[in-house]
Symmetry: C2
């Protein structure tokens, strides 16, 4: 696992553990120019994205990660992270398969923020 893969894996672990335990904490990961497409619905900006994520109509969820792939996105230092996994909502018995991609961009502080986020459930 090279360094980019390690960064991607660490981001993914952080993202989904925050999602599953403290959804409102995800707002720090987005900025004004960030975009989310959630099941085809588009949102822009940290506050709109956070409102969508915290407003999702379930109390509890648990993401399980199946695969994480990453690639550098170009000379600006961004990183594409592509995730597949399983999602259990409100303790349901049937996990839902999902795929999600993130485009991470570096911050001046040496961290990353999410510029692009596209989420899809993979229905049977």
């Amino acid at each position: 696992m090279d360094q980019a893969d390690q960064v991607a894996k660490a981001f993914v672990d952080h993202y989904y553990s925050t999602f599953d335990t403290n959804r409102s904490g995800l707002g720090n990961l987005y900025q004004d120019q960030s975009m989310l497409t959630f099941e085809g619905e588009k949102f822009q900006g940290s506050s709109n994205i956070l409102a969508k994520l915290t407003g999702l109509p379930f109390q509890q969820c648990q993401h399980g990660i199946t695969t994480v792939d990453c690639q550098p996105s170009g000379p600006a230092g961004g990183m594409l992270v592509f995730v597949s996994g399983l999602l259990v909502v409100d303790g349901g018995e049937h996990p839902l398969k999902f795929s999600q991609m993130f485009h991470l961009m570096p911050t001046p502080q040496g961290s990353f923020y999410v510029l692009n986020d596209i989420f899809r459930l993979n229905y049977a």
Copy 2:
């Protein structure tokens, strides 16, 4: 459907129809800096990517598209395209679900090439 969505849809139609009818024609869509991660295996450069795609161990395939989402990827004029769909290989009875993301970058000729390509089958 806005203009970016139309470009993304046209690219996706072109990509998969070329894949399904003339796989070797996909080489034109990649350049030297292009990257493919196919089921976790990494390839770089048009010729390596084309060798992987044309060497896949089936004679015929047919992609069916379920969803196409797109977002601009930043100031360089790139576009992220996220696809989910079904894949039938060699006339099999059970379609395989797949997810794939492309990062398209503009060419000086006003077209796009694929800088990033990540493909995953979504096993049951």
